[in-house]
Point group: C2
Chain length 533, copies 2
């Protein structure tokens, strides 16, 4: 992945003339205002790893698996939030872990944690590096030194049980590689978050990821059957062979979302399913967001079984249609001709008879709730381009736009009010920075009692964009916790949301997390400054 | 509920001649060997509640809500396991809580917990009294006194949100009353465990209950959206408006299954659904248990959507058919004429079109996997009699039989081996007591990666039946934890399974539970001797 941008280093995303025009005219910014710092001019905080510490690390994992080179440290200095990318582009000295250490076994991880406990070295577990909440920040807390513990060598499909439809996957396996290994055996995990191309299995578990197929296959926490965790006080296998148990609290749910603060997840046992025999696609349009949301609610509460179900609001619908570069391409299916409204996508996967039945049952509910079919093509186009979104951010940032996403979830009845409150807050805060702003929103995860809201925000960079966005985001977070939303539906907490955790789970919730942390990580070396206030 | 038996005090269950003959001939026992202790000859350990403690309790809840009468204490001395019933029938002095206290508000519960902390009084939360794992034992631990905290006044449908399909239910609400209140508004919770007629909403949450409709609506832990918990250090609302969140560990999953050891659950927010418009029933027979289990697995992994799906083994099938007292009644549908094999039940609920589609898809899978339809009648008969099972135990116990149930869950691939190991262990242990034994088994909860196994055991009481069953059960528990099962799929841990919790969750799992307990209940007054070793 690029060190200062999203994704494939070989892929160049160029803004269209109309996009450029919009940015220049509406936001009154241009690339001339933005400093593009080349890699060799970046100043990285020198490593403070002592020779003795380095020798001790090398004794555990071997010299080839310990690096203090800037080229290794810088890509592990953060994730891929806009704040991260802006920090990477800074000419100020950038913080970074003092070393990157790459263990190859549970025993090596255990030895590293013991060593770091003794030597007071903070440890940041690292998977795919796609955090957008500061989950990878090299926070030293009370320790002099911090290392990045890179899990990329835990990259095996450890086992696949075709009868039980369970696989044990190494935590460091990138999602596409996990799918490739499973597909060779005829199976699929089916977890496709926006970060899919780079994120890892362990990261999904540590952050409670949610993917585009969540309506059909569940969130990642629904897919996890067991976790293998190396903690500073010992190794735990959380969740055994039984699919369900009433033997007390479900401790898997403590490690899911633990963000590296309780232990290092090195393997995950997940539910897998046979590669779907067939898929069906259908796009829909609704007169407005409220009508579309009510239709999605009706589908989910009826349980008709779509694999993917999502709805863009009016702004996102208009903008996506406007930026599709194949004018006249497949207008025949009515997709491009759709006049305004809100676009919804439905996808169905599985055995042909079930796909047909689920598709028909879902159609019936959508038609009865104000939906108009746009046919197959727009839904297929969504599927084809669904991982492209993040690529657009980098050229926009380079033009002086401030682009970021944020997300929440709330009950169905609170959805419209929360969407409006977040939108108003963002636009008011950008207004304080003398900038108009565009707020796009979609529902991408539906539940029987509520849904997620995913916002994409485009405004102008003004002054120090890091301070600017921090202020805007902070105001949004206050709205989320104050008005019935969660601080995060699937991005996790990290450093960026940590100040709102007490609002989210209450002081006793925080006390519980601290007590578990003290039990498993008595020295407090694991990912300090994240999750737990 | 009867003080020394299951269920409705007005209902008398009489064994048929064939059942009596089987017991007398095969087990070589008779009612003459069994001492039937009348209520007025039972000796209850006198209450040791001091006058000062009583005054303090009365000051919180009022005199009418504090009782030290034997008639109140004895029904709260335990639950409804066979061990409980045998204890109730003992002429030895029986232990019982020193008082029954019935608070009417969160504030009263909080004040009671504060008082009990100060005065070193242990507290056993009490709902419907249906525990079968010693969850209600009046264990004093290091305290001189123990009270039963009866939640029956928390009996309101607090709220129902028809848009979000969520209801807030008082923890002390008996399940039938909860369903009645919801049905008045057109909704259903749909949680029907065997204990349904007497168990409470709070009890379902505290013990991770699982009901007969789990394939369709999920286990109780799947239905819970939020918990209102009064702990000794404060009140917690666990789980907010958002349906899902990635804000760290899911703390609801700590309180689900906490069995009154972390706090007193006083209200539960649950997912409800509209009363099903239609239902379809179909019974099936399979040549043997392995074939039937494979067929259930195929259905669940395909996700065809039955609401109920269960399979009895050969022994249970034969016995249930043999004891149906309507010979010739509905033989026309082929039900009674079924020659051996294994009986499976499927039920489908929901909107008519979905019911039809799910039924058809499930039929297709069952037919393709060796199933032969028995039509509708046997499935309807199961539904009609599904809460009758426990009533049969009492007359059998009175005849000198030892009757109990136990349950577990494991992966599909381990199901047959674990079933055999449990059966062999039970029969070998009864053999040591010079008794034959009958072991019936069914699958009543199916998951994509595994299933539950529910055993009904009938042998002869020999010597002290409490010591006898304790020995047999202990041997089974060793098998469960040693051979890939869980110590309990839905009965919970209580006092009876507590010695196996370290095997179940590991020493670090126990350390986590202890740290949470110390944080929320620093005095350790809440349900001592249960769940946490």
């Amino acid at each position: 992945m690029k060190w200062d941008a999203w994704g494939d280093p070989d892929r160049v995303t160029v803004l269209s003339e109309s996009q450029l025009g919009l940015v220049h005219d509406a936001l009154k910014v241009s690339s001339a205002d933005v400093d593009a710092v080349p890699f060799d001019e970046v100043r990285v905080r020198p490593s403070v790893l002592t020779g003795a510490d380095r020798d001790a690390l090398v004794a555990i994992v071997g010299a080839e698996h310990v690096s203090t080179a800037d080229a290794d440290r810088l890509p592990r200095a953060g994730g891929k939030s806009t704040l991260d990318l802006l920090r990477r582009k800074s000419r100020d000295e950038q913080d970074a872990p003092d070393a990157v250490v790459v263990p190859g076994s549970d025993d090596e991880v255990a030895a590293l944690l013991a060593l770091c406990g003794e030597r007071s070295i903070a440890v940041v577990p690292f998977g795919g590096g796609t955090s957008v909440v500061g989950g990878l920040d090299p926070v030293r807390d009370r320790f002099a030194t911090v290392i990045s513990l890179d899990l990329r060598r835990f990259d095996a499909l450890v086992s696949l049980d075709e009868t039980n439809q369970e696989a044990v996957l190494g935590a460091g396996l990138p999602a596409p590689e996990a799918e490739r290994l499973l597909a060779e055996r005829g199976f699929e995990l089916g977890h496709y978050p926006q970060s899919h191309r780079y994120a890892t299995i362990g990261g999904f578990a540590a952050t409670r990821s949610s993917g585009q197929n969540s309506a059909g296959y569940g969130r990642f926490d629904d897919l996890v059957r067991g976790l293998h965790v190396v903690t500073p006080v010992g190794v735990m296998d959380v969740g055994g062979a039984p699919p369900k148990t009433a033997a007390g609290p479900d401790l898997r749910q403590l490690f899911l979302g633990s963000e590296g603060t309780f232990g290092v997840i090195t393997a995950v046992r997940v539910r897998v399913h046979p590669l779907p025999e067939s898929k069906a696609y259908e796009a829909w349009t609704f007169a407005d967001f409220a009508t579309g949301a009510a239709a999605l609610r009706a589908v989910e509460q009826a349980g008709t079984g779509p694999t993917v179900l999502r709805l863009s609001d009016e702004t996102e619908t208009a903008l996506n249609l406007a930026t599709v570069d194949d004018a006249g391409g497949d207008g025949a299916d009515g997709g491009d001709a759709a006049p305004g409204g809100c676009l919804a996508i439905s996808v169905f996967e599985g055995a042909p008879a079930l796909v047909a039945a689920r598709h028909q049952a879902t159609r019936d509910v959508l038609l009865a709730n104000g939906g108009t079919s746009l046919g197959e093509a727009p839904a297929r186009r969504w599927a084809e381009h669904r991982f492209d979104g993040p690529y657009l951010r980098d050229p926009l940032l380079a033009e002086g736009a401030l682009v970021e996403t944020l997300e929440t979830a709330t009950s169905w009845s609170n959805l419209a009010a929360l969407k409006q409150a977040v939108t108003d807050t963002i636009q008011a805060k950008f207004g304080e920075f003398d900038s108009v702003s565009l707020v796009l929103c979609h529902i991408s995860h539906v539940y029987d009692t509520g849904a997620s809201l995913y916002f994409t925000i485009i405004g102008a960079q003004r002054g120090d964009p890091i301070a600017q966005w921090t202020q805007i985001k902070s105001a949004v977070n206050d709205v989320l916790v104050g008005q019935g939303g969660t601080i995060t539906h699937h991005h996790a907490v990290g450093a960026d949301h940590r100040n709102w955790m007490t609002d989210e789970v209450g002081p006793l919730g925080v006390a519980i997390l601290r007590s578990v942390k003290a039990t498993l990580d008595p020295a407090g070396i694991l990912n300090p400054g994240k999750l737990i206030p």
